[in-house]
Amino acid sequence: MSDATHWSIFVNAALINNFVLAYFLGLCPFMGVSAKLSTALRMGGAVTFVMLVASTCAYWLNQLLLVLDVTYLRLISYVLVIASTVQLVEMLLRKLSPASFRALGIFLPLITTNCAILGLALFQTNRGYGFSQCIAFALGAAAGFTLALVLMAGVREKLDLVPVPEVVRGASAALIVAGILSLSFMGFAGLGS
């Protein structure tokens, strides 16, 4: 149904409608993990991975629900299937590639039941993306999430070194930085169309 090109879907999800800075999806890990660059990068990797799995699952699951004409079960089946698939892939990963599991593993439980993941699945369904469009969307959303996380981490590392007033420390400082980043990302509006 949607005729958007893959590139415009990617750019839109990554920059214009950034999941964190425009939709506020995935704020919990964003606030929690964005304090250091190395963690932020690994978190980004884990999110990319889970988003690809979730997007694929949700697409085929939705096809199945449409065939069975039980779309009212969409939400509950998305939640359960995505969570269990990620768990399954996590076990496989632990077996097949212990190195990458060690790098990403600790974040997986954090993001499996995260609003960014479910949001991705719901948005792609609402917009009627085809399968390859879903993949472009997932990659874009993950890239945007990682970018926001990494930029945030840089500024927050810097904030640790300076005399931020006592009342602002912690969450409000992070929110203000996120707000300014969100303002800056408005510059990307209109790209890729």
Partner: protein
């Protein structure tokens, strides 16, 4: 406090809770489905009547793969379309929904087509997530919406598309009846509306013009076998 994790207990719990949940969802779905369908139908109908106020009776149609006009349930269509007839059953125009990518997200509009002079005679935005204060001016800017009071969509000689594709031009430079005056500062949103209208009109208008004679009266349809 919690029960022991024996396989049987786990199985019993998951299946039991699953069944209860399924019952709950299906129950609420059944209870609300009619109401929701009714809400949706009414919302769509009021949008149609807004762009096509002369219409007293509506016939819901769709375009088949072979470019034929067929009857269709609006609820089954991603982009429903209607033919509007007056009290006597005479055709007054068509109302067609169209969608396309805007600045932020999909924009969905409904526009009215008048067979007389082959013009678009009205447009309403059904759904948009454009930037508040800028892109949303496609709904509120009177200068912009005035574009759609009489927008030329005459069909070309071959009957395959529009004679002049709808084009969006910078604000204040509109010279032709098929041009859309953009909103300065919201050019992307204006162009998006122009593009999605052009796409939809290229598809629908040639077919509507071709079949205009058959569609003229609402009763005709029922007489046909």
């Amino acid at each position: 406090m919690t029960a022991a994790s024996t396989p049987l207990a786990m199985f019993r719990t998951v299946v039991g809770v699953g069944m209860l949940c399924a019952l709950l969802i299906v129950g609420v779905y059944e209870a609300t489905a009619l109401r929701i369908a009714d809400n949706e139908a009414r919302a769509l109908e009021s949008a149609v009547l807004e762009v096509l106020p002369q219409a007293k009776q509506l016939r819901s149609i769709a375009l088949s793969a072979g470019r034929q006009i067929v009857d269709a349930e609006p609820a089954d269509q991603p982009l429903p379309a209607f033919l509007g007839y007056d009290d006597q059953g005479d055709l007054v125009g068509a109302a067609i929904t169209a969608a396309g990518m805007g600045y932020q997200d999909t924009i969905e509009v409904i526009y009215a087509y008048s067979f007389e002079g082959s013009k678009i005679v009205g447009m309403r935005v059904l759904q948009s997530l454009e930037t508040p204060g800028l892109g949303t001016r496609i709904e509120t800017d009177p200068d912009f919406t005035a574009n759609f009071d009489a927008l030329d969509v005459a069909v070309n000689a071959a009957g395959s598309g529009l004679r002049n594709p709808l084009t969006t031009v910078p604000q204040g430079t509109k010279t032709e009846a098929w041009q859309i005056d953009a909103i300065t500062g919201a050019t992307v949103s204006s162009e998006a509306v122009g593009d999605l209208l052009n796409q939809s009109a290229q598809l629908w208008v040639p077919v509507l013009v071709r079949d205009a004679i058959q569609l003229m009266r609402l009763a005709d349809r029922e007489e046909q076998p």
